[in-house]
């Protein structure tokens, strides 16, 4: 049955994507977006390199950053052609990957339990409430003391941020489920475990994915901070060392790389969400028609 359902689903989805793309291209949006980018880059270029405005003078300019980034022989040692650049990216990605997977593997079940079991929530949630206001980065020194090595503290900090976001959103997701679904499952003879599996998990999925998207964002946020404070390699570390060793264009390269990698990782989570929640797409289509 599943096979049949899956086979049906992609068709409207593809059509929908196509339709949206067409609608987007027809609207004035692409032009405006280009104008926006042009304004940003133009401002950067003009203020730093053409007019050399007072406070901008010391900043790395658009062309110098671009040259550095694409140079086979970069002045400050980091460009697309330098393996170390990719090592920094890969190290950051590895940390994010481990922390994110761990946070998801622990945070989703915790969140589901928090939403599902009253007793569990009453016992565990107060601890959440106490720990959550402490900024993740305030954990940095403690993490260094608690955990051996330099890799584990960074991963721990990244994990912590993701974990809270995932668990809390999952909990909200469970509580957002219309009670009549749970009652209906009970009426049809489902045990609590079956209700959990057939109603709670799929019902909370939209919120879980919202949580995961937030989670990727805060993971990058804390990773960069953690890397800047401690650790070797990684994009945050690259930013910090470039600053201390006065390699300013490299800072901007690392920042832009962070932006791109961060965007791609949240896009991946979004895609996974769409893929897992095929049933939502057709619903959106009919809702739109009404």
């Amino acid at each position: 049955m599943n096979a049949v359902a899956r086979r049906r689903a992609p068709m409207p989805r593809l059509a929908l994507t196509w339709f949206r793309l067409g609608a987007w291209l027809r609207s004035p949006k692409p032009c405006l977006a280009l104008a926006g980018y042009a304004l940003l880059l133009g401002f950067w270029y003009l203020s730093v390199e053409v007019f050399k405005l007072p406070r901008f003078a010391g900043m790395p300019g658009l062309t110098s950053v671009f040259h550095e980034w694409t140079s086979r022989n970069p002045t400050y040692g980091i460009s697309l052609y330098i393996p170390v650049y990719w090592v920094h990216i890969l190290v950051s990605l590895r940390r994010i990957g481990i922390a994110f997977l761990l946070a998801t593997a622990l945070g989703v079940p915790t969140g589901l339990m928090l939403g599902w079991s009253r007793a569990f929530k009453e016992y565990v949630f107060p601890l959440f409430e106490i720990l959550r206001p402490i900024p993740i980065l305030a954990w940095v020194p403690l993490a260094i003391i608690m955990l051996p090595g330099s890799e584990l503290p960074v991963i721990y900090l990244t994990f912590l941020a993701s974990f809270f976001a995932t668990a809390l959103n999952t909990m909200l997701g469970v509580r957002s489920i219309d009670n009549s679904y749970i009652l209906a499952a009970g009426c049809l003879g489902a045990s609590s475990l079956q209700t959990f599996r057939h109603v709670i998990i799929p019902g909370a999925l939209p919120f879980i994915f919202t949580g995961l998207q937030i989670s990727v964002g805060v993971a990058w946020f804390s990773l960069v901070a953690a890397e800047m404070v401690s650790g070797q390699f990684g994009l945050g570390y690259l930013i910090n060392t470039s600053y201390t060793s006065v390699e300013y264009p490299t800072i901007v390269i690392a920042m832009l790389t962070l932006g791109i990698v961060g965007y791609l990782s949240s896009a991946m989570v979004r895609l996974a969400g769409h893929w897992l929640m095929a049933w939502r797409v057709p619903q959106l289509v009919t809702d739109g028609r009404r």
């Binding site: 980018y37 304004l39 106490i130 206001p133 402490i134 608690m146």
Partner: protein, 292 residues
């Protein structure tokens, strides 16, 4: 649950007979009892783990390296009389307040402008999407390069963290305003200013509140990190008055580990307090959301 009723029927007096116990109070008692149990258990576990070196002979992983709760309490007691500690509170609060106020003061009008003008939105939003994935802390070095004083550069990074959230929330809030409300007002002869003031503004207010609540949390995150990275700002050299983030970092560097936890808890309290303040403001500003 299914029946929302606000009016007591005339003959409700005779119901009292059926009431056995004040259910809400009972529930409240149970949940708060459970909360206390679990917190006490957590602290006991922490104490046991932290002192494992003494009673076990070797430190358990992770917890064994953490300062014990009693040591933390003692350290806290000592620090309470220290002017530098309170100076750190003041410094951090000042930075949060500055960055947050700036983000709100600029972010809300900016968000409203974007919401009112599709052209502005079309130009600015893609740029926003491009810059937003760059974590605020990645801006620290660039910010230090740009701003004349270190204090200003920290404020700027704090501002940045809160700014995106507030703008996007205002924008999202404006999108949820029912277009029919605006149409209804227009057809009743309301001027544009009146519509903005009486329809758009109250319509966005709940989202502004929500955005501010998230933003104040982010602000504290950024403050701590920025203070650690930049070594406490201008006041950092003296070792005191560099803010709570620097207090933690300094304690770490100086090897007084219980002070690290004191700093963490202090920031937790500060963060919680400021969120509560924002929430209070929010309920004051949007009384109709309470009325259900």
């Amino acid at each position: 649950m299914t029946q929302q009723a606000a009016i007591i029927t005339p003959d409700s007096g005779r119901l009292l007979r059926f009431r056995t116990a004040a259910l809400p109070r009972l529930l409240f008692n149970r949940s708060s009892r459970r909360a206390i149990v679990s917190i006490l258990a957590a602290i006991a576990l922490w104490q046991l783990g932290a002192t494992s070196r003494e009673w076990l002979g070797w430190p358990v992983p992770v917890l064994g390296h953490v300062p014990a709760p009693d040591a933390v309490l003692v350290a806290w007691y000592h620090v309470l009389g220290d002017a530098g500690y309170w100076q750190s509170w003041y410094q951090s609060f000042l930075r949060v307040a500055m960055g947050f106020a700036a983000a709100t003061a600029i972010g809300v009008p900016f968000g409203l402008t974007l919401a009112m003008s599709p052209t502005c939105r079309g130009i600015v939003l893609p740029v926003f999407e491009l810059l937003r994935p760059i974590p605020p802390l990645a801006w620290v070095p660039a910010s230090i390069l740009f701003w004349p004083t270190q204090e200003l550069s920290i404020d700027f990074v704090i501002f940045l963290g809160a700014f995106y959230t507030i703008v996007l929330n205002v924008l999202g809030g404006a999108e949820t305003i029912d277009i029919r409300l605006v149409q209804a007002a227009r057809s009743m002869g309301a001027s544009r200013i009146n519509i903005f003031r009486r329809i758009i503004l109250p319509g966005v207010l709940p989202s502004i509140g929500a955005g501010m609540e998230v933003a104040i949390g982010i602000t504290w995150e950024v403050v701590v990190a920025a203070e650690m990275i930049s070594g406490g700002g201008s006041g950092g050299a003296s070792g005191a008055g560099g803010g709570l983030g620097f207090f933690i970092w300094n304690s770490y560097v100086g090897g007084s580990y219980p002070d690290i936890v004191v700093g963490m808890i202090s920031i937790g309290i500060a963060g919680y307090g400021s969120s509560a303040l924002v929430r209070l403001l929010q309920t004051r500003l949007t009384p109709w959301l309470e009325a259900r």
